[in-house]
């Protein structure tokens, strides 16, 4: 059964990647610019399958860590907007919300900024805990390799925090939730179980896990991309664009032409993570570590050439006179 699914998935990955390639070329020719949201869904779905496939390799942890640390150097949080499986899950929940016509809630700007900074703290805390554990129970002699081992795969496994959001819905390993031989998981659930097992009994651990799933579900139902606001993985990625010396590094960024802008406010309203810089900034490169480069603002901006997604100085995709009544729900 698993082999069959694996084979099917392999085929899906191949065909999906080919399709994505074709679509990217079409976008390059600016023909499909009206369907960016669809394209994003497609890329996300293909990446989710690809990540599942990646997990079947024995050295997947290493590969994924390299992917998480190296890729963002060049594409920045494009990773969050277009590849991350947790984002796909949240976007799917948003689709459900849209079909039942419930209005999303906005987080207050201050809270949003606070959460944005909080994720660096979360990120650091998870890195410090293993060291602290090591210090609390020091081995007889100081051992660097032991500390390194604690950091990477000790009882606390901090790398899990980074990989957490990349866990797709269907996983190739044995998990607690299985339906006819296919194992299901959810981002971070394994980590939540792992960490709460230390203290609580099995029943409470299960309850905590389900509460976590429920909270993120409800949260992303009412607030668009709720996890992206304080995701520690996002923090590790965004660190690159956060500091001045590194601003040259990301190849992708959003560019704004001040003179074309009438400040109609559409970019601010449609942004799923409530970035205000695209609206506030006068023009030029919009670099903010909050932006996931989902390009929804570029898609919805009604002024030709006002917003652009640039890749190493070249315009990949720009706002245009979109007035064909949008088919995107």
């Amino acid at each position: 059964m698993m082999e069959l699914i694996g084979e099917i998935l392999k085929l899906m990955v191949l065909s999906g990647l080919a399709l994505a390639g074709v679509l990217v070329i079409l976008i390059w020719k600016k023909g499909l610019a009206t369907k960016v949201t669809y394209l994003r869904f497609l890329v996300q779905a293909v990446s989710m399958v690809a990540i599942f496939y990646l997990f079947t390799y024995p050295v997947w942890q290493l590969i994924i860590l390299i992917v998480i640390f190296v890729l963002p150097l060049f594409i920045g949080r494009f990773f969050c907007g277009w590849i991350c499986p947790f984002a796909l899950i949240m976007d799917a929940i948003t689709l459900i919300r849209k079909t039942v016509k419930v209005r999303y809630r906005l987080l207050p700007d201050k809270l949003n900024k606070f959460l944005h900074n909080l994720r660096y703290v979360l990120f650091l805390v998870f890195l410090i805990i293993p060291v602290a554990l090591y210090l609390l129970d020091p081995p007889s002699s100081f051992d660097t390799s032991f500390l390194l081992a604690m950091l990477l795969s000790g009882p606390f496994e901090p790398w899990r925090i980074l990989v957490g959001p990349l866990i797709p819905l269907i996983v190739p390993w044995e998990g607690p939730l299985a339906i006819s031989g296919v194992y299901f998981s959810y981002p971070y659930v394994q980590e939540v179980i792992l960490y709460s097992e230390v203290v609580f009994s099995e029943l409470i651990v299960n309850i905590i896990a389900w509460v976590f799933v429920g909270l993120t579900f409800v949260g992303s139902f009412f607030v668009r991309r709720v996890w992206c606001r304080f995701c520690p993985t996002g923090a590790s990625i965004a660190v690159v664009n956060r500091f001045k010396g590194f601003k040259w590094a990301p190849m992708l960024h959003i560019d704004k032409d001040e003179e074309k802008c009438t400040k109609c406010g559409i970019c601010k309203r449609v942004c799923p993570v409530q970035v205000t810089e695209v609206y506030d900034q006068k023009g030029g490169k919009i670099t903010t570590s909050m932006c996931t480069l989902c390009t929804r603002c570029v898609e919805m901006c009604p002024y030709e050439d006002c917003l652009k997604l640039k890749m190493g100085g070249k315009t990949v995709f720009k706002s245009r006179n979109w007035l064909e009544p949008s088919t995107i729900e």
Partner: protein
């Protein structure tokens, strides 16, 4: 709602006979002026696009008046609005007819003098005058008016007109760029929605609102297509294009879209044939400033395009023309609350009216003017202000500084609602155009 017997707050008691006499005199002039202006436009362009015939017809008020009357008999309501900040999508969604009721009659402004002093904006005085003698069919047919309190004159205009028709005022915040402003404005939009629903008896549901937004987006698309065609060498006279834009204020939106698309098709053919309306080195002029309303207040565009040397209007930044429809409502999610938010933002944030202020000095309008100058290849700007229009007059200095820096000549043309100064204005406009052509030759 006020009862009829209630005493009038502003309007003088005119005897029936007096009103009749005044109306007759002014209506006659009005009809003559409409015919004259259309005649002039036809003469200016011997080879006028055929699709313009429709707009000539609709520019004559009588035909549309008949249609609206028929629709009213069937139970449709008519809602007038006096400013482009009024959310027409909501009116359309409630199955009512939106018409813009600002008046452009010169003679009516003299009647308005009986109520407000002559220092007041002549467009407002003219609207008051038109109401006194029932001159404007759209103003008469309106079951209610939406008055957006943008400038001082507009604020009191609504009050004065409420002697006759229910007037719904909408407070527009003077600072666009703040969270509390948009909150207030969104509340205003919701309140106006409730009022429209109460008047028409139709509840505005998501489906109707979506269709209204999409119809308006289609109109915007046609509208932008027309303006984009004017970016190249002149393929249509500026006055013709302005008339097309202006008829949107009272025409049926779907028919208007269709006819405008037809006009654009015709113009595109002309572009491919390189069939220009005037020599391509004619100075390209943009008008910005106080709104110009059909039929009477047509003298400046006429002067520019009939002057010697001739100029061509390729763009304008008037709220009676190119600002009417240029900005679309951008909806993120088609739920009713999000649509209302989108409508609210479109009618507040996208506007470049000088009634707004910001710490960077109404940068939105300046930027938009510069974009227009660049994209439409403008060689000179006429800053048109009627006496009494404080906001546009005061912002002139700022605009002039920026345009000087960009090496674009700008000419301040101040005038009144009168035909008497046409002679001297002609001299002024011609001197400006002379200078522009000299610059082009160099």
């Amino acid at each position: 709602m006020k009862s009829q017997s209630e005493e009038k707050k502003y309007m003088p008691e005119l005897s029936e006979k007096e009103v009749e006499e005044l109306r007759k005199a002014i209506t006659d002039t009005s009809q003559r002026v409409v015919a004259e202006n259309i005649e002039k436009m036809k003469k200016a362009d011997q080879n006028r696009p055929e699709a313009m015939n429709y707009f000539d017809e609709i520019a004559d008020f009588a035909q549309r008046e008949k249609e609206i009357r028929a629709a009213k008999k069937e139970g449709k309501k008519v809602i007038g609005y006096m400013c482009l900040h009024a959310p027409t999508e909501l009116i359309l969604a409630a199955d009512a007819i939106p018409v813009r009721v600002n008046s452009g009659w010169y003679d009516a402004s003299k009647l308005g003098d009986r109520i407000v002093p002559v220092e007041v904006c002549p467009m407002v005085r003219s609207t008051i005058g038109a109401k006194m003698i029932a001159l404007s069919p759209y103003l008469e047919l309106s079951d209610a008016l939406i008055s957006v309190l943008t400038c001082d004159a507009m604020t009191k205009l609504g009050e004065i007109l409420s002697d006759y028709t229910p007037v719904w005022a909408m407070t527009v915040p003077r600072v666009k760029d703040s969270a509390q402003s948009i909150r207030l404005w969104n509340e205003e939009i919701k309140a106006i929605k409730a009022q429209i629903e109460a008047l028409t008896g139709n509840t505005i549901k998501g489906k109707q609102l979506k269709s209204a937004i999409e119809r308006t987006q289609k109109a915007t698309k046609a509208f932008r297509r027309l303006q984009d065609l004017r970016k190249g060498p002149p393929v249509i006279m500026g006055r013709d294009a302005m008339l097309v834009n202006q008829t949107y204020m009272w025409d049926d939106i779907d028919r208007w879209t269709e006819k405008t698309e037809a006009l654009c098709d015709e113009l595109e053919k002309r572009v491919s044939q390189k069939n220009w309306v005037c020599p391509t080195d004619t100075p390209r002029v943009m008008i910005t400033g106080t709104p110009m309303i059909w039929p009477d207040n047509w003298k400046v565009p006429t002067l520019v395009e009939e002057a010697n040397p001739q100029g061509i209007l390729v763009a304008d930044e008037l709220c009676s023309s190119e600002r009417l429809l240029y900005d679309p409502v951008g909806v993120d999610e088609w739920s009713i609350s999000d649509m209302l938010n989108a409508i609210g933002e479109r009618y507040l944030m996208a506007s470049t009216c000088p009634c707004f202020t910001s710490e960077d000095g109404n940068e939105d309008r300046i930027n938009w003017l510069l974009t227009k100058i660049k994209d439409w290849n403008i060689q000179g700007v006429i800053y048109y202000v009627v006496r009494g229009c404080m906001l546009y007059a005061m912002e002139y200095t700022r605009v002039k500084k920026v345009l000087d820096r960009n090496n674009i000549p700008v000419y301040y043309l101040d005038t009144e609602y009168t035909r008497e100064d046409v002679g001297q204005m002609k001299t002024r406009v011609e001197a400006f155009l002379e200078m522009l052509s000299a610059r082009i030759d160099i």
